[in-house]
């Protein structure tokens, strides 16, 4: 019984109350994933579980055994940052930095979701492949609050990465 985080296995917590978020920040000592509200209302704790983005604060770690979790530390490092991480720096897509790891995990997953053809509330035609418009990006990133108000720059960073990969 173990949870894989960024490729490393961790034994499940003793206390079943432990959220995946607290497990990542505590037991796994990966504090890059942030606790902003602990109730699924801000998105700061967003991580990828088996490639899918979720709010880690609302997942009990014991339910995640066998799962592969990717956190911000798994997307890129100081020495080898990801394209999205670099784009956030280039576009000043953050200020205080606290919501940023969640934003970047979300943005990374979001581009895959669009590539997979998943529609959103901003998709006009459910029958067509979603286009990567600013409104689509904004709607799909609305699960990640940023109180500093860096949204405009976050959209620019994502647009930049998406454009290069288009």
């Amino acid at each position: 019984m173990a949870i894989s985080i960024n490729g490393q296995d961790y034994a499940l917590p003793q206390d079943p109350r432990t959220s995946l978020l607290d497990f990542i920040r505590g037991e796994a000592r990966l504090p890059g994933t942030k606790k902003g509200c602990d109730h699924g209302q801000c998105g700061a704790c967003t991580v990828l579980v088996n490639g899918i983005r979720i709010n880690s604060c609302l997942s009990l770690a014991v339910t995640n055994d066998g799962d592969e979790v990717t956190t911000i530390e798994g997307l890129g490092t100081l020495a080898a940052p990801s394209e999205m991480q670099l784009a956030f720096v280039a576009h000043d897509g953050f200020q205080c930095g606290y919501c940023t790891p969640g934003q970047i995990c979300s943005a990374t997953a979001m581009l895959q979701e669009i590539a997979a053809g998943w529609p959103s509330d901003a998709t006009a035609d459910l029958g067509a492949a979603p286009a990567l418009t600013d409104d689509e990006i904004r709607e799909r990133m609305s699960g990640n609050l940023c109180r500093c108000g860096a949204y405009a720059n976050i959209v620019a960073a994502i647009r930049d990465v998406a454009g290069e990969n288009a």
Partner: protein, 737 residues
């Protein structure tokens, strides 16, 4: 060596324009950016400390009263519980910004619903959180006023000049309107957190705080320690927006626990606790009166406001701050009243005063422009006063007219008057609006140490914080410009009370104050280098790591000769602003769509033009303005603290129900930075920008709503129900929707 300047006179030398390195003002990326995007910037709660215990604050559901007893044994038998802290030194409220002394004690005297009164400490967070819900207490409760309209008020501030009532009666055109705003929460993304360690009489606390030199004094005073015993560390702060100006309850509680137990203790507030116990922006009830002659020239200006706070608090939301000087009008009545009620502490939330005081005036100006039959920009331009209309003092610098004109051009402003409901796209009425912006300028005493290291790189050190504002970037840029270094050769260390005390982050003082301290330190270094070369300081040029003078050139390492060179800059505000009005100014433009059925309002684009002295980093300054514009949207449309009418508790105490704007609420935003030098504001000719971007912009949105659908809404936030109701009452009888 220390270079001290108490600025008693304007500094017109514009030194930073002549240094030649070319980094000042440049849109450079944040030096700490890569750490933030890789999750390696460490925030208060995130330090790995062996044997750290977890504390959870216990709150009481009483509006006013007293905790009579706390039964520690009710939880001490629970698994993992180590201690209950209910020391008399616990603080029930946060300190106000720059208080420098303990906030209200003891916590057991309860003044608002949900006040923290104790701390439960356990081995793990889950154990502590559960036990905190089970702590048995006895309390006494008493009636308490919770509605600002129900109590006698105190006069906080007033300006009376001429006879406003007479001016209103005689006016060719007048506006007399009451507008309300509801309470706001800072809602910084990082919850308040502290990790305290007590070793041999020394307290070290990793905390999330904005103004460390004050916080250190507040914490020491709260605990009965000497300041020298206390070290605070806040190198990264996950947003503050005023809520971390003063030392808050979790910092004192964690410290007391660590001192009692001799073990490290971490306390992180729950999101609900942050909402319920830290700080709110007061709701306001404002009356605006404008009297004008036939040409739209103001003859009278009235602005009255009622705000609230807890008994014993000195802070009253300074709603009238910029109304004192924004517009002309020889007959003036400005009056601020304070109601004492039992809701949580009212304090500074980003741009206290102007964030709610400018937008209401700007709505009234829009109404006046319509009555005069004049373009609202023209009306504003016509009423920019020559000098402070009450004090008669000139303005140190002011870009208001330029912001209005250049902003209008960039936005594509369509001249008025025009009747509303001119454009419809499907279900949506489209309209635009304008507002002026203003935010008073403050500076605060600050020290910074700059060391030229033997290898020719530099180190900048101060206890100043970077709460997302860009301090790491701009202090490096000031030093780089002064010392002729590229930013990569400068290291900036912040957020540690072992370092020279800076201003702290609050009231937009940080850039001008700490920037000036760094500037002064670098001046000292330049003088020392010049002395070594036997040249005058102004004959010395520093660029790209080389010192150059008439007839010579030396690389810095060579000049330093293997020894570091250090200087501390000490900036103090002085008389330079005494006989002047010093403020930042701006203009806001918004286009909105209002749903004809539901009143839902979406901002489609915004332009902000701002003049705030020297721009130190065009990228981080722009980001500050983007943040401000985003706050304008929340302020105008979504944000409202809802207090229960029975016991005064905050009902919507989480991020699901207190609606800060989400990404989709924020459209394309355009920011114009108007270069300006303000010699009186600071030795680096800079003013503040952290708050200016939300001082008035909600008014532009309100005015755009009117232009779109013909509804004047007089209550913020302009939620669908309010817009819908205003549309119904403003609807011409012939129209069905």
């Amino acid at each position: 060596m220390t270079v001290h300047l108490k600025q008693d006179a304007p500094d017109n030398r514009d030194v930073l324009d002549g240094t030649g390195q070319g980094v000042i003002g440049a849109p450079l990326p944040r030096p700490e950016g890569l750490m933030k995007v890789t999750g390696t910037a460490t925030y208060a709660a995130e330090y790995a400390v062996e044997g750290c215990l977890e504390g959870v604050l216990v709150t009481v559901p009483v509006t006013r009263g007293e905790v009579l007893s706390i039964d520690e044994h009710s939880v001490l038998t629970m698994p993992g519980v180590v201690a209950v802290i209910s020391d008399e030194r616990m603080t029930g409220r946060p300190a106000q910004g720059m208080a420098g002394e303990a906030p209200f004690q003891p916590a057991q005297e309860v003044c608002y619903w949900g006040q923290p009164v104790a701390l439960v400490v356990a081995d793990t967070f889950e154990q502590a959180r559960d036990a905190a819900k089970h702590l048995a207490m006895e309390w006494r409760s008493e009636d308490a006023p919770i509605d600002p309209a129900s109590v006698e008020t105190e006069e906080d501030e007033s300006t009376l000049q001429g006879d406003l009532a007479h001016a209103m009666a005689e006016a060719a055109h007048s506006v007399d309107v009451v507008i309300t705003t509801e309470g706001h929460a800072s809602a910084a993304m990082e919850p308040h957190a502290a990790l305290a360690q007590w070793n041999d009489g020394a307290l070290t606390v990793h905390a999330s705080l904005q103004m460390l030199k004050f916080n250190r004094a507040e914490l020491a005073d709260s605990l009965g320690l000497e300041e020298e015993q206390v070290r605070l560390l806040s190198p990264y702060v996950g947003g503050g927006f005023g809520s971390k100006l003063g030392v808050s309850q979790e910092v004192v509680a964690a410290s007391l626990a660590a001192m009692k137990l001799g073990r490290p203790v971490r306390v992180v507030m729950s999101r609900q606790q942050v909402f319920q116990t830290v700080e709110r922006r007061s709701e306001t009830h404002q009356r605006i009166r404008l009297a004008a002659d036939a040409e739209g020239k103001l003859t009278g200006f009235g602005h009255e406001a009622l705000v609230s706070n807890l008994p014993g608090e000195t802070f009253a939301e300074p709603v009238l701050q910029s109304s004192q000087f924004l517009y002309a009008g020889e007959n003036r009545l400005l009056k601020l009243d304070l109601a004492r009620i039992h809701r949580m502490t009212a304090g500074s939330v980003r741009a206290p005063g102007e964030a709610v005081g400018v937008q209401t005036v700007e709505q009234a100006m829009d109404m006046l422009a319509e009555k005069v039959g004049m373009d609202p920009i023209e009306l504003r331009l016509r009423n920019i006063p020559e000098v402070h209309p009450a004090k008669g003092t000139p303005f140190s610098s002011r870009k208001l007219a330029e912001c209005l004109r250049e902003g209008a051009a960039a936005f594509g402003w369509e001249p008025r008057p025009r009747a509303p409901r001119h454009t419809r796209e499907g279900e949506w009425w489209i309209g635009t609006g304008v507002a002026s912006g203003a935010r008073v300028h403050f500076v605060e005493e600050a020290k910074a140490r700059v060391t030229l290291r033997p290898d020719g790189t530099a180190l900048v050190e101060t206890d100043m914080t970077d709460i997302g504002t860009g301090t790491y970037a701009i202090l490096g840029q000031v030093a780089g410009e002064m010392l002729g270094l590229v930013p990569d050769d400068i290291e900036v260390r912040l957020g540690d009370t072992d370092l020279p005390p800076g201003s702290g982050s609050g009231g937009s003082v940080g850039a001008a104050s700490c920037g000036s301290a760094v500037f002064l330190a670098c001046q000292g270094l330049r003088e020392q280098l010049a002395k070594r070369l036997n040249v005058g300081a102004d004959e010395l040029a520093l660029k790209d790591g080389f010192a150059r003078w008439d007839g010579g050139e030396k690389a810095l390492p060579e000049l330093l000769g293997g020894e570091p060179l250090e200087c501390t800059g000490h900036f103090e505000p002085g008389a330079s602003t005494e006989d002047l009005t010093v403020s930042s100014f701006g203009a806001f433009f918004a286009e909105v769509a209002v749903n004809r059925w539901t009143g839902e309002t979406r901002v489609r684009r915004m332009t902000g033009a701002f003049g705030f002295g020297r721009v130190l980093n065009a990228r981080t300054a722009r980001s500050q303005c983007l943040g401000g514009l985003t706050w304008c949207i929340g302020n105008a449309l979504t944000e409202s603290l809802l207090f229960d009418p029975v016991d005064g508790h905050l009902a919507n105490c989480d991020l699901a129900e207190y609606h800060v704007p989400v990404n989709r609420d924020v459209p394309d935003l355009e920011v114009l930075l108007l270069e300006e030098r303000d010699a009186a504001a600071s030795p680096i000719q800079a003013k503040g920008v952290g708050e200016l971007g939300l001082c008035g912009g909600a008014g532009a949105i309100a005015n755009a709503i009117y232009d779109a659908c013909g509804a004047r809404v007089f209550a913020y936030p302009m939620t669908p129900d309010r817009v819908m109701a205003a549309m119904e009452s403003s609807r011409p009888p012939s129209e069905s929707t």
